[in-house]
């Protein structure tokens, strides 16, 4: 039995998104060796247990990277190199770049190769031919809508999902979606996102005259901000005093036009992406975090708001109903329903402060019991171990 594993967390980019970096950080404290492969966007200081085998996006750097690993494989793993070359030749469109990406993986040969984004799965099934275990994360758009609009992608999933050794699903709902493409139910492990523990804060004093609503997330249609803005129009027509801030919503002409068209300039503000601490500060001062999305795995921003004891109103998309129970630890409305958003906001505003406080406490309890970072890391390790020992 092997207790300490070599685990590759592959997203393509180094560093990756906040939640993947959080996973890397958590795993790096477990005594296992963590390998990162891919394109280095900027230099990051990781713990000693994390090894980075990446390349910079310059021709020279990629060439040196390629030459180094070609040489090593040629000298010491000649047969395996030939075998990989043959596989890559069959599937690849850009053979040289593919080798730049794949050779280091073959050379370092982690025990588990964890692909974070499903669309890239076809590029990495070869690792199984060399004894590595293949884990795939099931996250958001890659599972929930891209294969619906892209038949080729759906066909690729149907071809490769049955071969994957283990799936990490960010919610039960997304796991069920993956089953539609041939993923075996017993290989799907639901591991919820976890947040680092923070000091418990007293609920920040909220403004009383104007109801403050906030949304946080990139300006993408799946975030459903157009529904939120239509809801604002309904609220304004009813004379409700509110202010709505979308963090990350600038530079999007669709939202800007909708605000202009609906004369919501005084009620709605689009602001640029902000550093994490500033976003948390804005969240704490808001009366309500609104997640109007049409699709999500489980939105981390909702978990953060719950940890910050800010009330949450979310649409019932993806796995959000695994976190929020309407009226208990937050509020929930159907997707694509501006009327429902507006009505619920009016209801929330009318709730007495003591009842709101109770909901906030329950939200915090949900985070402490189901969404702790240490839980997430333990469960991910258990997934890797079970897959690896299945092999052993």
């Amino acid at each position: 039995m092997k207790d300490q594993l070599k685990i590759a967390v592959y997203s393509g980019d180094i560093p990756s998104t906040t939640f993947i970096e959080r996973l890397i950080l958590g795993l790096s404290n477990t005594g296992n060796s963590i390998y990162l492969f891919g394109f280095i966007k900027k230099k990051v200081k990781y713990q000693d247990s994390v090894s980075v085998f990446g390349y910079r996006n310059t021709r020279l750097h990629k060439a040196l990277h390629y030459l180094k690993y070609s040489f090593l494989l040629f000298c010491f793993k000649h047969k395996e190199k030939r075998k990989l070359d043959a596989i890559l030749k069959k599937q690849s469109k850009n053979l040289l770049l593919t080798k730049v990406k794949c050779y280091p993986v073959l050379w370092h040969k982690p025990d588990v190769f964890h692909v974070q984004w499903a669309k890239g799965l076809a590029d990495w099934t070869w690792v199984q031919e060399f004894g590595m275990k293949l884990v795939l994360s099931l996250r958001g758009a890659h599972i929930n809508y891209s294969p619906i609009a892209d038949k080729k992608l759906a066909a690729m999933y149907s071809a490769y999902f049955p071969q994957v050794d283990g799936f990490h699903a960010v919610s039960n709902a997304i796991g069920l979606e993956a089953v539609k493409y041939g993923a075996f139910q017993e290989k799907i492990h639901v591991v919820y996102s976890g947040l680092p523990c923070i000091e418990e804060k007293k609920t920040a004093a909220k403004q009383k005259d104007v109801f403050q609503i906030i949304s946080v997330g990139r300006a993408h249609w799946k975030k459903g901000y157009t529904y939120a803005l239509d809801a604002c129009n309904i609220l304004k027509a009813q004379g409700f005093k509110f202010h709505y801030t979308i963090v990350g919503g600038t530079k999007d002409i669709e939202f800007a036009y909708q605000i202009h068209d609906l004369h919501l300039e005084k009620e709605v503000r689009l602001i640029d992406n902000l550093p994490y601490a500033k976003v948390q500060g804005l969240m704490q001062h808001a009366d309500l975090l609104l997640l109007p999305s049409v699709e999500e795995g489980i939105a981390n921003v909702v978990l953060e708001a719950m940890q910050n004891t800010t009330l949450v109103l979310t649409t019932n998309c993806g796995g959000m109903d695994e976190v929020i129970t309407d009226g208990v630890n937050g509020f929930m409305v159907p997707i694509r329903d501006s009327e429902a958003i507006a009505t619920k906001i009016l209801e929330i505003e009318a709730i007495p402060e003591t009842a709101k406080e109770e909901i906030r406490k329950k939200a915090l309890h949900t985070i402490k019991t189901k969404h702790r970072e240490d839980q997430m890391v333990d469960q991910m390790l258990a997934l890797y171990q079970s897959i690896y020992h299945d092999k052993a």
Binding site: Y145, A149, W221, T226, I253, E254, Y257, L262, I335, R336
Partner: protein, 399 residues
């Protein structure tokens, strides 16, 4: 226009690229002007090899669309030209820019980038879109030409939101404006542009081509159609939401969206979530003959846009006798006369759109025929190419 600098009155039209085959508006306009004795020079930012045989003289600035070294070299050549080939015009352009408070560096950049205009002799310099005139506000004056600017929708309603204040300088100049609708004229009033400086010339279509082939049989089920690129401003998500309501009411239909664009994933997923994916076909982009064929098989044409200058596709659908339901976005309410040549529904309201479609379905054949005939007749009267060409001739002759 009584006295011309050239033998024939010359119109310089400024576009980004040479109009492609499907961009009928500018092709028709250029042909119409040539047929009426005008000489046309097309100024474009980029020139493709296939543009060599275009119907008029094309002057391109794409020397700047190169790598860094070539850009520096081209800038140097442009500077030499400005000093030795058209020093007077370059100097006027520089002086006028300076008068407008443009910094030395920005001024020099503008003189270099706009050098390709200065060697030509034109009576009018007509910018095909508002944004094309930005940072070129004094070029026409430097060429001793009159200046015209067309606004087509996006450039009037959306560009100022994307680039706040982008027209501040432009709107201080002596310009004749061409817009597509009375609504757009009203929008220009908000920028304090006087009425006599604005002319409304609506788009026009090739009516003989868009005449219905009466031998084609309509399908039995309710066929709905939209021709639009897959862009948020076309309001296709709201349209799909309305169709989901229609389905819930038990009305069987099929909806065809003709057009391509970056938002296909968004729309397919919306149709999927709304439970109407089976009823919707995304054909992608089609050639004009195919578009016509698809339109001829449909009963109702939907254009439930969020923002729209005027919309040629709606005119084409009316010409073919389709029952048109449009939103009240900008020029659409002038394109379709509510209750006379079609129906206008307030935008961003899928319930109202669904109700309207349901009401149309329930109309008697005679009532539908009446609307259809009214629409065809109005298109023939108002939106023909000849009428549009005459309007442009007046635009250049009477100003």
């Amino acid at each position: 226009m009584t006295k011309h600098k050239t033998e024939k009155p010359t119109i310089g039209i400024v576009l980004s690229t040479v109009p492609r085959y499907s961009e009928t508006f500018f092709r028709n306009k250029i042909k119409g002007l040539q047929d009426n004795g005008f000489r046309v020079i097309l100024f474009v930012d980029y020139l493709e090899p296939e543009d060599a045989n275009f119907a008029c003289k094309v002057v391109a600035s794409n020397a700047f669309n190169k790598n860094t070294f070539k850009r520096i070299w081209c800038s140097f050549l442009a500077l030499l030209k400005s000093l030795f080939m058209h020093p007077k015009r370059s100097s006027v352009l520089y002086t006028l820019n300076k008068k407008d408070g443009i910094s030395f560096k920005e001024n020099m950049i503008q003189v270099i980038l706009n050098q390709f205009f200065l060697k030509e002799e034109v009576d009018w310099l007509h910018f095909g879109f508002g944004m094309l005139a930005v940072k070129r506000e004094n070029v026409a004056a430097a060429m001793c030409a009159k200046m015209a600017v067309s606004f087509r929708g996006y450039d009037l309603y959306l560009s100022p939101l994307k680039h706040p204040g982008c027209y501040n300088m432009l709107f201080t100049k002596d310009i004749q404006y061409h817009v597509l609708s009375q609504e757009m004229k009203q929008e220009l009033f908000r920028y304090k542009i006087p009425s006599n400086k604005i002319q409304v010339i609506t788009p026009a279509i090739d009516i003989p081509f868009f005449t219905a082939n009466t031998t084609l049989e309509k399908k039995n089920r309710l066929e709905l159609v939209t021709v639009a690129r897959l862009h948020w401003k076309k309001g296709l998500v709201y349209t799909l939401e309305a169709l989901a309501l229609l389905k819930q009411s038990g009305i069987a239909f099929h909806y065809t969206i003709i057009g391509a664009g970056s938002e296909k994933e968004r729309l397919v997923f919306a149709a999927y979530q709304l439970g109407v994916l089976e009823e919707v076909t995304f054909t992608g982009k089609l050639v004009q003959n195919e578009v016509k064929k698809q339109l001829e098989q449909a009963t109702i044409y939907l254009q439930y846009s969020i923002q729209e200058g005027f919309c040629n596709a709606v005119i084409e659908a009316q010409a073919l006798g389709l029952l048109c339901v449009v939103s009240n976005a900008e020029g659409l309410a002038e394109n379709v006369l509510d209750g006379k040549t079609g129906w206008v529904v307030p935008k961003r309201n899928p319930v109202l759109l669904a109700n309207k479609i349901e009401a149309i379905v329930k109309l008697s054949e005679a009532e539908k025929q009446k609307i259809s005939k009214n629409a065809i007749s109005r298109v023939h009267k108002e939106f023909g190419l000849i009428k549009q060409q005459e309007a442009f001739v007046r635009f250049y002759s009477e100003n």
